[in-house]
């Protein structure tokens, strides 16, 4: 590691990236453990001194989560039930110290297939804000996450915020994950769901995303379509709904176990939405 920069403004940060490649870091909770065995010689761009990158704001259009907002910030924020799933992810992403240091933007940019934030952002129909010296662009999260540890972020760009549109009517979010233990482990399967409800309690629209069962978390469009106009009910989820998943065998579980657990968690998420 040859150079370390900690600019106080976004302008300085994007100028630094325009000048040459640097690895952006915030909480560092994914960065350092990955470098214990072989620390690459890389220049770092520490984003934690840029106050504008941290915090949650809301307006008529929706919510804006600064990329350097920590999981603890999410837990302590007053947010509507739409974000109950995101809050659950914040509480289970790691122990308190990881919640204090780890950031929403870092979790997305790290692009682990098992990232607890990612399925939530898909369920929330979120977009990312990417800034560079050339300007700012918006990209849906589903287009931002390209594969295992791969995103659409250009080397000269900084992820500055995640935006969530404001739904019409009553909305709720849910997040469930399965790990060998509750914290401190990488998820075997995770499920995030968000639904908007009609006045009579039927589902107006729903988005359901599964994490850790494919290179990037994916939504389940067949199930989402079937839920429209109905009341949330675990019985509505069918094994064929999991067709978009491509789980693998690894040290944490087999593909068939993942598939089985994913269906169970999807059904539990629907039961939770029905409450």
């Amino acid at each position: 590691m040859t150079g370390y920069l900690r600019p106080a403004t976004l302008d300085e940060a994007v100028a630094a990236l325009a000048a040459g490649p640097r690895t952006p870091i915030a909480g560092g909770t994914d960065v350092y453990p990955a470098r214990i065995v072989a620390a690459p010689d890389e220049d770092l761009l520490d984003l934690t001194a840029i106050a504008a990158l941290r915090g949650i704001t809301a307006d008529a259009a929706g919510w804006r989560f600064g990329a350097a907002t920590t999981w603890t910030d999410v837990i302590e924020a007053a947010l509507p039930p739409l974000f109950d799933g995101l809050k659950a992810a914040a509480r289970e992403v790691g122990g308190v110290q990881i919640q204090n240091a780890g950031t929403l933007g870092g979790n997305l940019c790290n692009a682990s297939p098992a990232a607890d934030g990612a399925p939530n952002w898909l369920a929330l129909d979120a977009e990312v804000e990417l800034a560079s010296a050339a300007g700012t662009r918006l990209l849906p999260v589903c287009d931002f996450l390209l594969g295992n540890r791969r995103t659409a972020r250009r080397p000269d760009e900084i992820l500055t915020a995640i935006r969530v549109p404001r739904p019409e009517g009553r909305a709720r979010g849910v997040f469930l994950k399965l790990g060998a233990r509750r914290y401190l482990v990488i998820s075997i399967v995770s499920v995030a769901a968000a639904a908007q409800f009609e006045a009579d309690g039927r589902i107006a629209s729903a988005r359901i995303a599964v994490g850790a069962c494919s290179p990037v978390p994916v939504r389940l469009p067949a199930l989402e379509a079937r839920l429209v106009g109905r009341r949330a009910d675990p019985a509505l989820a069918e094994p064929a709904d999991l067709a978009p998943l491509a789980p693998i065998d690894d040290v944490r579980g087999t593909a068939s176990y993942r598939r089985d657990a994913a269906l169970t968690l999807v059904r539990r998420a629907l039961a939770e939405l029905a409450r």
């Binding site: 590691m1 040859t2 150079g3 370390y4 900690r6 560092g28 909770t29 960065v31 350092y32 453990p33 214990i36 620390a39 770092l44 520490d46 934690t48 603890t72 790691g94 122990g95 308190v96 110290q97 990881i98 204090n100 240091a101 509750r182 914290y183 401190l184």
Partner: protein
């Protein structure tokens, strides 16, 4: 090499470090504050927990240079100058909340942050959840939870003296 200046346990400290120097290395190797332990180096075990600007963090996953201007408190900064222990330290002693002691500095630092953030008081279950980031491989959790439950009463001013452990 860059110089980092910060406050450690209420006193100004500075050191010349490499960019890649971790906060825990700054504390242990440069400042010789070896009460903060390194257990896993991968942000899992929690033996290295310290407070940075009032929040508990794992010092093995934070760069020293990121702490420029920060207020850091380690296990060495808890007791009063006359040696009077912090109520949490006193409770860990009274309730025998340790066996080998390796995880203890991190446990104590996490516990203090947990209690300070929850002035309404914590149930045993909430204490256990709050300690998810700290591993004790002597399986000493039971007494650790009892110690924290007792210490919070002192820290929140509910009782003047630490409740004694039953014989």
């Amino acid at each position: 090499m860059p110089k980092v200046s910060l406050t450690v346990n209420g006193k100004p400290a500075s050191a010349e470090v490499e960019n890649r120097t971790l906060l825990v290395e700054l504390l242990r190797e440069h400042l010789r504050l070896t009460g903060t332990h390194v257990g896993c180096d991968t942000s899992q075990c929690g033996a290295c927990v310290v407070h940075v600007n009032g929040a508990s963090v794992k010092s093995c996953t934070m760069l020293a240079v990121q702490c420029e201007g920060a207020e850091v408190v380690t296990i060495e900064g808890l007791a009063a100058p006359d040696g009077t222990l912090h109520p949490m330290q006193e409770a860990f002693r009274e309730y025998h909340a340790l066996q080998c002691g390796f995880c203890t500095p991190g446990m104590v630092m996490s516990a203090i942050d947990l209690v300070q953030r929850n002035p309404q008081g914590l149930s045993d279950r909430e204490i256990r959840e709050g300690l998810e980031g700290n591993l004790c491989r002597c399986t000493g959790y039971h007494n650790i939870v009892r110690a924290i439950a007792a210490a919070q009463q002192v820290m929140h001013g509910k009782v003047k003296e630490l409740p004694r452990a039953a014989e």
